[in-house]
């Protein structure tokens, strides 16, 4: 039961990675359009650049979960 839950939740993490990035990029573009000054651009660019590798990491985590790599609790 728990192993099934761990496996299927992997799909959520795999989806969450790109979705959160999409949301972040959309918000960044919206905010930059509202306040097109250097400060705003730098701040949001930093967020997007920093969080992209983390989102990829979340996808990999989800993939491992889906492939039963976390079958027993670690």
């Amino acid at each position: 039961m728990m192993n099934q839950l761990r496996k299927w939740m992997g799909l959520i993490w795999m989806l969450m990675g790109p979705l959160s990035m999409l949301y972040l990029i959309k918000t960044a573009l919206h905010q930059i359009a509202l306040h097109p000054v250097t400060d705003t651009k730098i701040q949001w660019a930093v967020f997007v650049i920093v969080f992209i590798p983390i989102a990829i990491g979340l996808c990999i985590f989800g993939w491992y979960a889906w492939k039963d790599e976390y079958k027993r609790q670690m």
Binding site: M9, I42, G57, F61, Y64, Y70, R72, M74
Partner: protein
Amino acid sequence: MSTSPKGIWKVIGASSVGTLIEWYDFYIFGSLATVIATQFFPQTNPTAALLSTLATFAAGFIVRPFGALVFGRLGDLVGRKYTFLLTLIIMGGSTFAIGLVPSYESIGFAAPVIVLLLRLLQGLALGGEYGGAATYVAEHAPPNRRGYYTSWIQTTATLGLFVSLGVILLVRHGLDSDVNVSIQKFNDWGWRIPFLVSIVLVGISIYIRLKMNESPLFTKIKAEGKTSVNPLKESFGHKTNLKMVLLALFGATMGQGVVWYTGQFYAQSFIETVCKIDFEQSRTMLIWAILFATPFFVVFGSWSDRVGRKWIMLAGMFLAIVFYRPIYQQFLDLSDTTIYQTQTPASISEPVVQTDEMNQRTIVTTSIVKTFDNGFAYTQKSRDTVFAGSSKPVVDAAPVYTEKKLPAPVYWKFVFLIFVQVIFVTMVYGPIAAFLVEMFPTRIRYTSMSLPYHIGNGVFGGLTPFIALLLTTINTGDKLVGLMYPIIISFVCLVIGTVYISNKTDPDVSD
């Protein structure tokens, strides 16, 4: 292969002093963010200046994972002792140098650029320090007391913040017998002293650390020729270890980082900038809360040796998710001035008028300090604009109530509310070093545990005040909207931790 009880305290003492100093160095920058904004950044737009400072502050956090990679690798190749000696020197040197950088007025844009570079060095050094200290202590500790002994290292991050706040307050008051003159001197040049003091502290710490021995586990694998040839590849290039790194990040350190920085940084920032509490009160509150809560790092670290690490850490995240909004709502309610506006003050100060000439207009700011019978006081600032060619001022907006001084009962309620948040911090943070050490093998431990720790704390945690501030500028209607960030991150981490992490402790870390 654990060290004798007497020896372990020497190990903890030497590691903790150095780590505490590194945290002190790192946090004086954050604690002085508003002063630094006026010194190193253009003053045309104060918000831009503050944001730039926070960005510089955030840069120090973002670079921490890179420090974890650089120094973690070094620590797994040449040893723990010399690596965290090096990080200490880099940290101390860059902190001292920040105290020497001329202001924006003197050298223009070179000032913020130099400060940013030094801040990046601080972040790199810190990225290498913590993993080394935690690994070093854990590799000396007996298996059944690993949580207890490493929790002493955990206290240093909070105590570093405590010392930084204490030194700042002492210097701020010690520059002149007249408090106002002393504060003026502090804002002009005295803020440099806490940075310069660092060199003395670092000197002492280097002396202590030079006398330490290498970790027994690392010495053993080195003697056997079993050290890693390429720790980065082994840590992140092999699925067996990478999946543990990802689990440590998403199931533990990500949530732990945001709880840590909300309780100890965002709380102070919120109290000062949103509730508008006086500079000194907002800092002394945090000092008291930290003082009362710090022993709980050891309590929860020690408890984790008996009941496991997982549920203590996750319970801390759960409590944070549930109680953050009520706690911060209390901050707002307790500092609200509405009821005082209809009351007659016990005393009203002489108005202080400040005029600023801008193109085609003059801004007139009038400040009055009102004190009430129960001891509550605030500064009421009204701003009028007089346009060129007109003698009639135009009232800009409703008065702003700042520099609020709370009466003792309310002040202690604030202390209690911060204390509760620091208790959450002690729950998530007390057992985490032992938890991370037990996840990874000796040959790549320094590298493997440092990266998730510093992404969790440096990126997720360190950006908390910055992201929370940005959220409040996006949704101006809800003053608590900034809390959505730590709440969502903690929630995701809580779910992952609950489902995927085991509560079993690993007695053998010599693998």
